[in-house]
Assembly symmetry: C2
Homo-oligomer: 336 residues x 2
């Protein structure tokens, strides 16, 4: 049995989405026991099961608008932080929240601590490509990263893909503006040198254009860029669909056409559905932490719990910690 903490109040549709996700998880994940954290009024609605333990938090809730460090100061009894406490105390093995991701990052660093040798934990997001899904790291835990941070991001994401997704020797690339070696900004050029020195399967730069072709397994970038790329991709995909629909509406012929193509569109949609990936792990903290999408529904929550289960099963964070020292490279000369 693996114990996973779920922040009942995390996400735009919580607690409705999280409570329904619990039901799904109990049905589909027999090896998981759940610690549900939330205010007493919400815990009352939780399903009863011998695999469910209820942990009462304060009534305060961390919202999407809260500044992470402010929230940590003023809402310390919120479910998000109380849930992390359970991990820190060793009472549970993994943690899932679809809440304010900045607050999950700040809370994890403060409550669980960083891995030895890691200055900056990072969010690793799975993205669909024309071939296999890939990892984009960092998806927004940090801005103004240093070259060595980028190197560690690549290392951690690589191990994550190997251990959780059984991907052998993941190909790691730096997101940059040209394919030629050493093209990019100062940050990328210096990170490039670090990767070259390492034992990792580093394949060089990847351009924005090729991101979704599936030619690499891990794409490394600073969180400012990663977050922009991620949100841009979501926004653009929606915009394309909106524009297409508007064009289609203009004639009966094309309305009929789109109706006929509907099964194909649905299958396409499923393939590109982030909910299938079950949340993004926060790599670099002393605990197995999964950040689920803010718009998570019950299925996404259940998949995030499954992801957390896989993390806990091999206790990924401890493996990451030993890899961080094993794969350390000489940093000198690579400072910005």
């Amino acid at each position: 049995m693996v114990s996973v903490v779920l922040d009942l109040m995390g996400g735009d549709f919580a607690p409705h989405s999280t409570l329904k996700g619990v039901n799904l998880a109990l049905r589909e994940l027999p090896e998981v026991e759940l610690y549900l954290v939330g205010p007493s009024s919400i815990l009352e609605k939780a399903p009863q099961s011998e695999r469910v333990k209820l942990v009462e938090s304060g009534d305060e809730v961390v919202t999407m608008e809260d500044q992470p460090h402010e929230a940590l100061k003023r809402k310390r009894r919120a479910s998000l932080f109380v849930g992390l406490d359970l991990l820190a105390k060793g009472e549970a093995q993994a943690f899932v929240s679809a809440g304010n991701s900045g607050a999950v990052v700040a809370g994890s660093i403060f409550i669980l601590g960083r891995l030895k040798g890691v200055r900056r934990p990072a969010i690793a997001t799975m993205l669909p490509t024309l071939k296999l899904p890939m990892v984009l790291i960092d998806a927004g835990a940090n801005v103004d990263s240093k070259p060595y941070d980028l190197y560690q991001f690549g290392l951690m994401a690589s191990l994550f893909l190997e251990k959780i997704w059984q991907r052998e020797k993941p190909r790691i690339a730096l997101l940059s503006i040209g394919e030629e070696q050493g093209k990019g900004n100062q940050l990328v050029k210096k990170a490039h040198q670090l990767f070259l020195k390492s034992k990792l399967n580093y394949v060089g730069n990847i351009e924005g254009r090729d991101l979704y072709l599936g030619a690499v397994d891990v794409v490394v970038c600073d969180g400012f860029i990663g977050n922009i790329c991620l949100k841009l991709s979501e926004g653009l995909a929606e915009t394309i669909m909106t524009m297409l629909k508007e064009e289609v509406k203009k004639s009966f012929r094309s309305i009929l056409g789109m109706y006929l193509a509907k099964p194909a569109l649905a299958s396409f949609k499923k393939k590109t559905d982030w909910r299938e990936y079950g949340g993004a792990p926060l790599l670099g903290v002393r605990g197995n932490v999964i950040i689920s999408h803010g718009k998570s529904d019950a299925v996404a929550i259940k998949n995030a719990i499954y992801q957390a289960y896989k993390f806990a099963k091999i206790n990924l964070w401890e493996r990451l910690e030993s890899a961080i020292s094993e794969f350390a490279v000489e940093e000198e000369g690579s400072e910005l």
Copy 2:
């Protein structure tokens, strides 16, 4: 009559695309006279017209693989640079190339010089949105920009939209990772302060997610990020179409559906076609320089010539130069 220089050798499909573009331009743009620059073997194939002047370059050609500064040193007689010479000498009023954009940037800076007060010229690219097209600046002329560079990018793009696209009081935003004022990396936070001090119509941050909604007119970012966003968008749009087609192919029903929806798809494609925008201006140099897409066909080349014509007609670069001093703000305290 306005005189525009065309680099016959610029672009993946040159000189076929450029020569055909010349024919289109002669037919559709009666107020334009063209200086065609290329090796003698290519000039022979150029259409004859009293509105066409032939200028012979060396046989060397700047390729997409050339390092800009290397090219400037070793291929100084290439059509790209000889064309810029015509602008510098005052023999022509605007310049168009679909060649290596890094070489156009480096050549323009070296041959034409920067505007007074401008440290970094930037590429301004028009992008479609759900509403009106917007400008993304910088699309890749620079990496590691400073806050004041970003401020000047916004100022120049704003004037460009006003004067060339008749957009009143363009709304300027900084591309960042949160909508809240002052969220972002160090660069964006400090540029934010500069915009606040200015007389420009600055509206704050825009997130990647909202880029294509059309809520703002000018999106400002460092060229490293701008180039990644641009290429990511192109690549993602293509990937979505490829994935959709693959799904559709799987059943006769959806093949028929897509066939019926074809006119709608074509209309959508036209709306999002970069060729309609006629190339991206390089703002911040002492000359009217238009960089056309590397994959330009004849229509794109003709549209780029039209854009160059509009630039020359109001001599945009001189207006930019006076705006740069008129809209200068106190830089102190905003250094990185």
